[in-house]
């Protein structure tokens, strides 16, 4: 890095167990969080907040959730969209049934509903692994979307079949609903994501994270040191679905404003899975990098031809975007199959020793 940790000695295990043991890292992260709180509401245009930053945060939260399940516990899931839908519809039902309930509490309870559904659909994971489990979770995806489409109760019998975020306030400021400002929604999403990311990091570096990774890496050896596979896997499904549920509630309440089941179809499950794979399986940072990649790169690509003075028909440009985007995904996976987080780690290791090769 541009700095060295030379002279910083860890004299306690607590110091060594810290998330950011190096002082400069702590300063950098604190500065980044402060900047994320202050800068966008002041400087970013409504377009940036609404079309870039808010979706990035919401998808990052979903990617975090899936990364806990797939990256850490090793259970492949294609049910992310379904679990997000559970969160979104529960949040809608709770918010409309109990208008006085604090909206953050609504989000957290929506996560609980998603966690319960996640446990249910995680039960097959005791018997099946890998691609077969992915197919089993696909059943969750299709069943849940079908359920929310079929049962009108979930949408409060809206004839359009859509759920719309009602106006809700937090600390006197409107943070959801059609009249809320993008800045308020951005800050709410940022707060949620920051807290959830920290909690995820704490989980994966402790007892629970180690039992997940043990199951992922060698389930037989995990059993022999006392990890109970079913309990461990179900906990992974529960916590992962909790994150996805809150992300789903955020998708409707903080980003889209209103949505129908189409917003949670199988495409979103794949999208979040791509984020996790491109960002880096088994990495908290990777979840953010992957979400940034998937959200930002298409936007960059759609503006790139114009920016370099290239004029082309709109239809051609759309095709061009898809081709380059696909190409980039393949390129990244060839260069570093373990994702952007791994690239970042390699860069850090190399820079630490620079200018020496070893």
């Amino acid at each position: 890095m541009i700095y060295r940790e030379a002279g910083q000695f860890k004299s306690s295990y607590a110091g060594d167990q810290a998330i950011f043991p190096v002082v400069q890292d702590r300063v950098f992260v604190a500065a980044a969080v402060a900047a994320a709180v202050v800068v966008p509401p002041l400087l970013a245009s409504e377009y940036w907040l609404q079309a870039v930053l808010i979706p990035f945060l919401v998808y990052a939260l979903a990617a975090l959730g899936l990364n806990l399940l797939t990256g850490y516990a090793g259970q492949l899931s294609l049910g992310t969209g379904g679990f997000m839908a559970v969160g979104a519809y529960s949040a809608f039902k709770l918010a409309t049934a109990f208008p006085r309930l604090n909206i953050i509490v609504v989000f957290l309870l929506a996560g609980v509903a998603a966690a319960a559904v996640g446990i249910l659909f995680g039960l097959p994971s005791l018997r099946i692994k890998g691609f077969y489990l992915a197919v089993a979770t696909l059943a969750a995806q299709f069943f849940l979307i079908w359920l929310f489409n079929k049962v009108a109760w979930f949408t409060n019998y809206a004839s359009s079949g859509t759920i719309t975020a009602p106006d809700r306030t937090l600390f006197g400021a409107l943070i959801t609903g059609p009249n809320s400002t993008p800045s308020a929604r951005y800050l709410t999403a940022l707060g949620l994501v920051a807290v959830f990311a920290l909690a995820a990091k704490n989980l994966v570096r402790g007892r629970i994270g180690r039992s997940w990774m043990a199951i992922r890496d060698r389930d037989i050896a995990a059993e022999i040191i006392g990890v109970r596979p079913l309990r461990t896997k179900l906990l992974a499904f529960a916590i992962s679905s909790y994150y996805c549920g809150v992300a789903g509630a955020g998708l409707v309440f903080l980003y889209l404003g209103s949505a129908e089941t189409l917003a949670f179809d199988i495409g979103i499950s794949f999208l979040v899975l791509f984020m996790v794979i491109i960002g880096g399986l088994g990495s908290i940072l990777g979840s953010f990098l992957g979400a940034a990649f998937i959200v930002l790169v298409p936007i960059v690509l759609s503006n790139a031809p114009h920016a370099i003075g290239l004029r082309m028909p709109v239809a051609l440009q759309k095709q061009f975007e898809l081709m380059v985007f696909g190409g980039l995904i393949i390129l990244f996976l060839i260069v570093e199959p373990r994702g952007l987080a791994r690239l970042w780690q390699i860069a850090k290791e190399k820079l630490r020793l620079w200018p020496f090769p070893h």
Partner: protein
């Protein structure tokens, strides 16, 4: 002081058979391991040594017979329950968690000793943090003991084979087992690595007072470290006794060398 005759054996395997369809991998084998002992289980390939170990650690259900630990029958327990009783083991083909650091690998050995709620752990606060640090301190003792301080942050998958075996031993030791089962702890090692491993096995036995049952092919090692040797052949026990006696046993020579023992 090795286990006295009056105390019940730590592990008592009584006429256990394990069958896979028509194949009888372990055939009515009885053996007992006394507290504080180092017992070696030897035998030609396919003799049923690992199968017997798997039955003890709960991966296989014996077809007949009983397995008792500390005088209590525990023939039909699942592997995590066996671990909870205080039996740890290593595997013939190293079964480390390759994606985790050496430190985390060894910390998994403490999982059974850890309690907590995921809410506290998500906050990394109070009891959760204290517990984490206590266990870290214990794990560091084992890291010192096995002389692997330099690699504690290295991902286990990147280590050379000999060190992986040592880390696996560390993980098993972290559980503070009463009985340690080692499945070929020295397979594929060079002479120095074997010597190190022998030293560790003897030290573990003496310092932590851990009872050890190990499977090994290297006869030199077996004769040096073990108090007693059990010989299996085709799923049957053909000898059981001190190393010196077993070495001269006619049935053992027969099984290993295939020589006639008439003259």
């Amino acid at each position: 002081m090795k286990g006295s005759a009056a105390a019940p054996p730590l592990l008592e395997v009584d006429r256990v058979s394990v069958r896979f369809g028509a194949l009888i991998a372990v055939n009515r084998v009885s053996l007992s391991v006394a507290r504080g002992e180092i017992v070696a289980i030897i035998g030609p390939n396919g003799a049923g040594k690992t199968t017997l170990l798997n039955a003890v650690s709960g991966f296989y259900r014996p077809y007949e017979g009983t397995i008792a630990f500390e005088g209590q029958d525990r023939t039909r327990l699942a592997p995590p329950d066996v671990a909870a009783l205080g039996i740890a083991r290593t595997f013939q083909n190293v079964a480390l968690f390759k994606g985790m650091s050496v430190l985390d690998n060894i910390m998994t050995g403490r999982l059974l000793k850890m309690r907590g709620s995921f809410l506290l752990e998500a906050l990394y606060w109070g009891p959760a943090r204290r517990q984490e640090l206590e266990h870290r301190a214990f794990v560091e003792r084992i890291i010192d003991f096995l002389e692997i301080q330099a690699i504690r942050k290295t991902p286990a998958g990147r280590l050379p084979y000999g060190l992986q075996k040592r880390v696996e031993l560390a993980r098993a030791l972290a559980a503070e087992p009463k009985l340690l089962l080692l499945d070929e702890p020295m397979a594929g090692m060079n002479v120095e690595e074997k010597e190190d491993m022998c030293r560790f096995i003897l030290d573990v036995n003496q310092e932590f007072d851990t009872t050890i049952a190990l499977i090994e092919h290297d006869m030199g090692v077996v004769m040096d470290v073990s108090d007693r040797v059990v010989v299996l052949d085709y799923g049957r026990k053909i000898a059981d006794g001190p190393p010196a006696a077993v070495r001269k046993d006619a049935a053992v020579l027969d099984a290993y060398l295939g020589v006639a023992h008439d003259a």
